[in-house]
Amino acid sequence: MDYISNTPAERNKMLKEIGLEAVEDLFKMIPKEVKADEQLNIESGISELELMRKAQLTAKKNKSIDQQISFLGAGAYDHYVPGIIDALISRSEFYTAYTPYQAELSQGTLEAIYEYQSMICDLTGMGITNASMLDGASAAAEAVAMGARISRRSKVLLPDTINPAYREVIKTYGAGAELEFINLNSEQEIIDPSLIEKEIDASTGVVVLQYPNFYGSIEKMEEISKIINEDKKVVFVIIANPILLGLLKPPAEFGADIVVGEAQSLGNGLNYGGPNLGFMACKDDRKMLRQLPGRIVGKTKDVEGKEGFVLTLQTREQHIRREKATSNICTNEALNALMATIYLSTMGNTGLREVGEQCYHKSHYLAEKIDQLPGYEVANKDNFIHEFILKVKNKKSSEVLKKLIQQDILLGFDLKRIGQEGILVCVTEKRTKAELDKLIEKLEVL
């Protein structure tokens, strides 16, 4: 099946209009040395029935998370996704559209992005939000690069309580911008503010914190904010989990200059880690705005005075500014942003708060029970929101993880992957009390 409508007769008619005999003549300018002589070594095409059978059979070699009880988080979260999201984004006027270059025929996409920008501003407390970034990690990396441009300084303080994958991506981008990274090592689940105080100096351009951090804990935000604010030039980047911002104070209250993060948790499924949804917000400040990467939608009026929406402030972008652009970003995650917008509209104030509270109460119920079991300890039990560090005594974490997998439980992210002890356990509103009790019971008898 090749999706070509034109028949051989129609193709011949077209060739005649062009003045050619055969379709191969269209390619005669390609030198024979670079031509592929033989047919592509890819099997012949198949029908929809065969495709679906092949896909279903291959899928059987997987075990999805709905076939087991999952406590995996660590940057990708299994939250409830309302059914109306898929129904609405399956409208092909949305999902088969391009970037809204012709605003007058793209008001649906543009208005939805404007709503998205408004809701992210509300959650983060920031004044400006762009139309989306590729994912949380690249958004963080671009925020660091933006901070270095604004401060005109190249030293970046990077605590190890930030998601390790984000730190890696930040450093990859930083190698391009030739930034200098200072790793701050925590003794416990949060960073000691005095480490920041000690390292911050006149060459420091950016300080990054995660809220809540990789371990689910809340850093000493007020104290660190005061330290950073002593030098007005330093750009403070906060990586936040937006689904918890229905419950937690907005990062703007801690003096953030740029707030970024992963909004997959807002109505986007897991999809093995992509497509995800990076978001990026900054202070309402012209200097900041000029340095912001990505597309931005603005409200304006048409010739008759009717309100409408356009892509705006495009002179920051690559298609206009080329090598002087604030970023190379072109394609973003517009459909995922639409999903987040529908999610936030559906949940509303009370729903988003209830999700945050359920995560909190359920994870604390679980942590408290596990902490009471002999041989287990919750390392950050006094300071976490919906993810905690579980330490296993007298046994190897890997063995505990393995044994539970055999009983259809994914206990969490093995911190061994990043050279540390323990397991990062996450509880979302989707987990039931029965599932939590089952885990507790299994751990007890292991």
Binding site: I18, K35, L40, E93
Partner: protein, 477 residues
């Protein structure tokens, strides 16, 4: 505004969600944590029906490939097969956490591995990473590979050469990777000027970035000479895969002696563009660059597929996880459906459709480059501008006829440019209708230029004031 904002549907206390009861006892927030609780948020309070009606109304103010022709040059807006959407929604393929054990993911890894092999076959590259989430992300990844390669060889090379017809992402990606950008002019035939290239190339040159066919739709017939010249000074040649739909099955970047490249799964391989994204921008490299690919790299041994994390020379990661997996599933379904011979037929029809449009339009619009072109071509609206309406006006007038406009004012080497790419999935009636509409507009400009200059007339909003939007930004409610 034809449809009010979702917040304007808000009514205090209205609810659009339901969650199961909490079941467990509430835990106190200790004194430290309770300091971090917020008062409230200002999200809309609406019902499920409100949400459905609002976003349905918004969708009705939009235009997708399913609505009609979308002739954006270099964007390859082909039909997005629905069966690909079905595949991407199979629960056991999509409801997967990125940190699940690999043993639970062998089906998905097999699909990704097949996609890798097929992309390598199509491009004549040796190793593929699927991690970059967009074309520009693939460009940046590639340039970081170039950078790391020369660092490894202890060569200091600071310059990347880009033709003046290149996509804006090329120079922007080079800057992000820390290179200086040198732009070279095209010759009178719309191709790389070999003399200008020779002059630009030196020991500081790290790479040449090239799209072939270029943004004028013209195949660089001296491509082997070009790649040879770049290699002679020890630099690398990078292929921008945006225009792969012109050569798939006919020619391969690897055979043109490109060293590395990116693909756009959301262009060539039919995955939907979602109103701006998500896309996917895999990168292919020749063997000698494989050690520098972002980690992890997907591998296979006798027993299983696995992610190879031990990559000491890797540039590092560019994405939180493995890239836009959901898009890869769709591209895999597309390649399996169309098959090897079908991909070649796709290319033939894409090129045939473009040349048919060009042939039918070239007498009424100026054709700045007479050279044979492949899947897209560039017209100039300068004749019409002299008669009273510019390319922008023509584009807006097309919207009145329920058709999307071509890419306009790009490439920069053509004045009043209209860059047209119909793709292979349009039938002859649609192409004829598009031609007739453009001819009608051209006639309207002669008879009543004001009608065209004031377009669009029939869209939900009329021409929007972009200057005002930039001068007084209103970016949220």
């Amino acid at each position: 505004m034809e449809e009010k904002l979702i917040k304007d549907y808000s009514s205090p206390g209205r609810k659009g969600y339901s969650l199961p009861p909490l079941e467990v006892e509430e835990s106190e927030f200790n004194s430290e944590l309770s300091d971090y609780l917020r008062e409230d948020v200002q999200l809309p309070e609406v019902s499920e029906v409100d949400v459905i009606r609002h976003y349905t109304a918004l969708s009705e103010m939009n235009y997708g490939v399913d609505s009609g022709i979308y002739p954006l040059g270099s964007c390859t807006m082909k039909y997005n097969p629905k069966r690909n959407e079905r595949v991407a929604r199979i629960a056991a393929l999509s409801n997967l956490h990125p940190y699940q054990p690999e043993a639970q993911l062998q089906g998905s890894l097999e699909i990704l591995y097949q996609l890798k092999l097929d992309l390598a076959e199509i491009s004549a590259m040796d190793e593929i990473t699927l991690q970059p989430a967009s074309g520009a992300h693939g460009e940046f990844t590639s340039l970081m590979i170039v950078k790391k390669y020369f660092e490894d060889k202890e060569e200091k090379r600071t310059k990347v050469i880009v033709p003046d017809s290149a996509h804006g992402t090329n120079p922007a990606s080079a800057t992000m990777a820390g290179f200086e950008v040198m732009e070279i002019a095209s010759n009178e035939r719309g191709m790389v000027d070999l003399e200008a290239l020779a002059e630009a190339l030196d020991q500081d040159t790290a790479a040449l970035m090239l799209t072939n066919p270029n943004t004028l739709g013209i195949f660089e017939e001296d491509i082997l000479k070009i790649t040879e010249m770049v290699h002679e000074v020890g630099a690398l040649v990078y292929y921008d895969g945006a225009n792969m739909n012109a050569i798939m099955g006919y020619a391969k970047p690897g055979l043109m002696n490109f060293d590395l490249m990116h693909f756009n799964l959301h262009k060539t391989f039919s995955t939907p563009h979602g109103g701006g994204g998500p896309g996917s921008g895999p990168v292919g490299v020749k063997d000698f660059l494989a050690p520098y690919l972002p980690k992890p790299v997907l591998k296979k041994d006798e027993k299983k597929y696995y992610w190879d994390q031990k990559r000491p020379k890797s540039i590092g990661k560019v994405h939180s996880f493995y890239g836009n997996y959901g898009i890869m599933l769709r591209a895999w379904a597309y390649i399996k459906t169309v098959g090897g011979a079908g991909l070649k037929k796709t290319t033939e029809n894409a090129v045939l459709n473009a040349n048919y449009l060009k042939s039918r339009l070239k007498d009424d619009f100026e054709l700045p480059y007479a050279e044979d072109s492949l899947h897209e071509f560039v017209l100039s609206g300068s004749r019409q501008k002299a008669e009273g309406a510019s390319t922008l006006h023509i584009a807006k007038r097309l919207l009145d006829y329920d058709q999307y406009a071509p890419t306009i004012y790009f490439p920069l080497v053509v004045k009043e440019a209209m860059m047209i790419e119909p793709t292979e999935t349009e039938n002859i009636e649609t192409l004829d209708h598009f031609v007739e509409t453009l001819l009608t507009i051209s006639r309207e400009i002669k008879e009543d230029p004001e009608l065209v200059k004031n377009a669009p007339h029939s869209t939900t909003v009329r021409k929007l004031d972009e200057t005002e939007a930039a001068r007084n930004p209103n970016l949220h409610w």
